[in-house]
């Protein structure tokens, strides 16, 4: 079961080699609001709320640490 996602990732990685932009075309991507996790404080506060009220957690990243709330 675990090998399937790794295999899919490997396929994706090889497909990814054709995508992308030249280094000087990264103007838009350099903007703060285009960063994948541009507001880590809000993300971790939300993660804490949803971890306390629902059964799922994480996905985006991890290392938030535990609490007695779930």
């Amino acid at each position: 079961m675990k090998t399937i996602p790794v295999f899919v990732m490997a396929l994706l990685i090889s497909a990814c080699s054709d995508l992308g932009v030249k280094p000087w075309d990264r103007d838009i991507l350099a903007r703060e609001e285009m960063q994948l996790n541009h507001d880590p404080i809000e993300a971790s506060l939300d993660d804490h709320i949803y971890f306390s009220k629902e059964a799922s957690s994480g996905g985006r990243g991890f290392g938030g640490g535990g609490c007695g709330c779930n």
Binding site: K22, P23, W24, D25, R26, D27, A30, R31
Partner: protein, 180 residues
Amino acid sequence: MKVIQNVAMTSIIRTKLLWVLLLTHLPLLAMEKTDAPPAPPLILQSDQGEILLSDYRGKVILLDFWASWCGPCRLSFPWMNDLQTRYTDDQLVIIAVNLDKDGEASRGFLKEIPANFIIAYDPEGTSAETMKVIGMPMSYLIDRKGCVRQSLIGFNDIKKAIHEAHIRALLEEPLNSTNL
């Protein structure tokens, strides 16, 4: 008779010596060729009109590629200003090619951080493509003979020191040297 013989001997010896010199420097020749290709004949648009890299033959050129949105570029400008001031007499020319698509962004940047070196504009990025720029900022050192000797990707304290050491080395190379 003896004089003529001596002259003949000296010229034979000189020829032999020249051959020896050439042969021993052949490997160096080969190295130089792969390490230092001639700079492409770039034509750049600057505020002062069209400029060619060959206009500065005989001087050491620091050719830098930058954009207003690039964080390390902001850090590199004061350093380049400083370099230009200190080494103008030693014939260092800095040409910083701006790759912003938006002209306003670059002018805004220059208002905040004025430059005392040449700024060129290439919104299409053709010169960056020709120079095979692989990161931002990226700079190239071109020696007095017009060959690209070093490239540097990114900018931070360590890179700054390395690059300056290379610049000093190139500035110390005279234009007409017996070393190739």
